[in-house]
């Protein structure tokens, strides 16, 4: 017979209780009150015992909905000696060393998942996405943009012809062959000088960008940059990345409470902005290669970027920005210039 464990016994299905003690007698658990009256007499294997957690009391629930509770978790474990084996999470949770190991492991795992996991999964999903899907997505996005921010282009026809000729040269170096890309000219005051790529190969350039373009290589650079976005399915990757980030945060934090959700917004935005900068750099690198293959000068692309930057933020240029969807202009320009000298 084991030592008696002190606690209290709750009568089946009620809030009524008495001070009691539990004793293990072989495979039988006996609960009796202070006067020795037996309250429960049950085979240990039929008792549901709550796992150890912190300094929390242990609960022994019987099949008749009566239950025995004790604050003495060590004594409760002795009572069960040899009956319930197995590693319990409590062994890890009680030790600060394991907590430290867990912090390091969790940090490393999350870092790896954010840096390699999510972009990798997003890339794989983007490659597996059927082209018909990309086409539908592009049509609907364009329809929405046309309804909201885009207006028909007002570029004079010589400019338009020149833009289309330069676009054709850039498209010739696209992965899917020149027939797969299409240039659309639109006016968009709210977007300013800009160009954007849709997953099906449609590339939109705003009229507002054209006055900034001083050399052919600059326009080719812009088009090649957008074509690279199409070739690498960047917009699909961004869609999948954006869907994966909150899902990953939800899985890790588990119990989604208001606090963790609010605190997760900023890191989520920062991570997505960092992914976007990675994709932009890849597009810049591809564009530099196209310009070089066409015998052009990649420094021209850097000139255009700097001209746009000055327009936006003045002579000093725009400040470094963790929320930015593009790398800092000075860094992009330097990378493009050095690409030309290789």
């Amino acid at each position: 017979m084991s030592e008696a464990v002190a606690g209290r016994y709750f009568f089946p299905g009620t809030t009524r209780f008495v001070a009691a003690r539990a004793v293990a007698d072989g495979d039988i658990l006996r609960v009796e009150d202070e006067s020795g009256t037996v309250l429960a007499h049950v085979a240990l294997e039929l008792v549901e015992i709550s796992p150890r957690l912190g300094t929390l009391r242990r609960r022994f629930t019987f099949m008749d909905a009566g239950c025995f509770e004790t604050e003495d978790s060590d004594a409760a474990d002795c009572l069960l000696m040899g009956k319930r084996k197995g590693v319990s999470a409590h062994h890890l949770e009680r030790s600060w060393q394991w907590a430290a190991v867990s912090v390091l492991f969790a940090a490393a795992a999350m870092f790896a998942f954010v840096v390699y996991g999510i972009p990798g999964i997003a890339l794989w999903l983007a490659q597996e996405t059927p082209p018909s899907f990309a086409a539908t997505l592009s049509e609907q996005t364009l329809a929405t943009l046309d309804r909201t921010v885009l207006k028909p282009s007002a570029l004079p026809s010589p400019d338009r012809l020149r833009a289309e000729a330069l676009f054709a040269r850039a498209a010739g170096h696209g992965r899917s062959g020149s027939g797969q890309y299409k240039l659309l000219l639109r006016s968009a005051a709210s977007l300013g000088p800009n160009a954007l790529a849709l997953p099906d190969g449609t590339i939109v350039m705003t009229d507002q960008l054209w006055p900034f373009v001083k050399a052919d290589d600059e326009a080719i650079g812009v088009f090649a940059h957008e074509i690279a976005h199409v070739d690498h399915a960047h917009s699909l990757q961004a869609v999948y990345q954006a869907a994966l980030v909150p899902a990953a945060i939800a899985v890790v934090t588990g119990d989604i409470s208001q606090i963790s959700q609010m605190a997760a917004i900023l890191p989520g935005v920062l991570i997505q902005a960092a992914y976007s900068r990675g994709l932009e750099q890849q597009a810049d690198d591809d564009a530099a290669m196209t310009v070089r293959q066409l015998g052009g000068n990649t420094a021209r692309m850097a000139d255009l970027l700097e001209r746009l930057d000055t327009k936006l933020c003045g002579k000093a240029g725009c400040p470094a920005n963790w929320l930015g969807t593009h790398p800092q202009t000075a860094a992009r320009a330097a990378r493009l210039r050095s690409a030309g000298t290789k």
């Binding site: 394991w98 977007l191 960008l209 869609v239």
Partner: protein, 356 residues
């Protein structure tokens, strides 16, 4: 424990005041929390169901009133099954919304129809898996009731440009509290409409202050006007500053409405018309705790999270008491079937997991 003393039956009319108490500690919960995360990562998320149960058990089990703690009994396996289904649905929903703007309407209608069901099943799952002194809680709200409180009322609030929103808030509190029962005895809360209007009026004033402040800031910085996306550099310097003002401001307002509404509902709550709750919770203090918690979590890269939760639990328990009309011996369990956790988990993913 000293509290394990059988109190003699108090004579009728002799009410006894019991303070709530939270006995958990930040350091202890930190170890539980970080081991939970590590094990969830090692098992690719599978352990997260066990982690959820351990976390809930820790908070419920360490919350005491009248010498006894609460218990949480949910089965991790059921939660895991619910979680897998919820994750799949969440992924599909998220993708649909991003892929096609036209999917938005059908998705919203579908989710709208599902919300009342999610609320009922999540509330019921949690109530039935919570006990105090060996007796379970129960939730008996219906789909129709949830539809009224969470769809019809907010719709009425929106159609009246927010004019009825405070009453919608109250309808949700009523639905939540008045459908809960302990040992077959009902909880009930009643409070006058003007008291909740007062809360929203103050929130509105705070919001106007925030809007004016942000606009003033943006006007000052307008020379740095920005543009983002496409080939041009995405300069959202001004946007970043706006976020730095708007996010904490909005957080404070949302937390204020939650805290003040919670206080209002709690201090008017009675069990079986005779045991009443008494609250000394100050909405201002609660807002301070919630808002500073978010800030501390951010600057510690999340490591403060366990202390943040323990801190909030301590504050709540320390300012809440139960004025009991008896020694609480009279409650006996209702019989009901246990149920799956699918609704609870979906509700969790779609952010309808609002408890008290």
């Amino acid at each position: 424990m000293d509290d394990i003393v059988v109190r003699p039956l108090s004579p009728a009319g002799d009410k006894q005041l019991h303070h709530f108490e939270f006995r958990g500690s930040g350091g202890e919960f930190f170890r539980i929390w970080i081991v939970n995360i590590a094990l969830s990562l090692v098992t690719l998320g599978i352990y997260s169901a066990w982690a959820k149960v351990r976390t809930r058990r820790y908070f419920y089990g360490n919350t005491f009133v009248a010498g006894h703690g609460f218990d949480y009994h949910a089965s991790p396996v059921r939660i895991l099954i619910g979680r897998i289904i919820a994750l799949a649905l969440f992924g599909v929903y998220n993708l649909l919304l991003r892929i096609s703007p036209y999917a938005l309407l059908p998705a919203m209608i579908l989710l709208g129809a599902a919300i009342p069901w999610l609320i009922v099943s999540s509330r019921r799952f949690n109530a039935r898996n919570t006990s105090y002194r060996n007796v379970r809680f129960n939730f008996s709200g219906t789909y129709g009731g949830a539809f009224q409180a969470y769809i019809a009322w907010p719709l009425a609030g929106a159609l009246t440009l927010g004019g009825l929103m405070p009453l919608a808030h109250r309808a949700q509190d009523y639905y939540y509290i008045n459908n809960h029962a302990f040992g077959g005895k009902r909880f009930a809360t009643v409070f006058p409409g003007w008291s909740i209007y007062k809360v929203y009026l103050l929130a509105l004033l705070l919001f106007l202050g925030l809007v004016v402040g942000t606009l003033a800031f943006l006007l000052l910085l307008s020379p740095f006007a920005d543009s983002a996306g496409g080939f041009g550099a995405g300069v959202s310097f001004v946007g970043m500053i706006a976020i730095l003002i708007i996010m904490p401001g909005w957080l404070i307002i949302v937390n204020y409405v939650r805290a003040a509404g919670l206080v209002l509902a709690l201090e008017n709550t009675a069990l079986d018309n005779r045991h009443t709750l008494q609250s000394e919770i100050e909405p201002g203090s609660l807002v301070w705790i919630m808002t500073s918690n978010v800030f501390l979590i951010l600057i510690t890269f999340g490591l403060f999270y366990p202390w943040a939760r323990v801190r909030a639990a301590h504050y709540m328990a320390d300012h809440l008491s139960l004025l009991a009309a008896s020694n609480l011996d009279e409650f006996t369990s209702e019989t009901f079937a246990t149920q799956g956790a699918i609704g609870e988990e979906i509700a969790g993913f779609f952010d309808y997991d609002i408890g008290l």
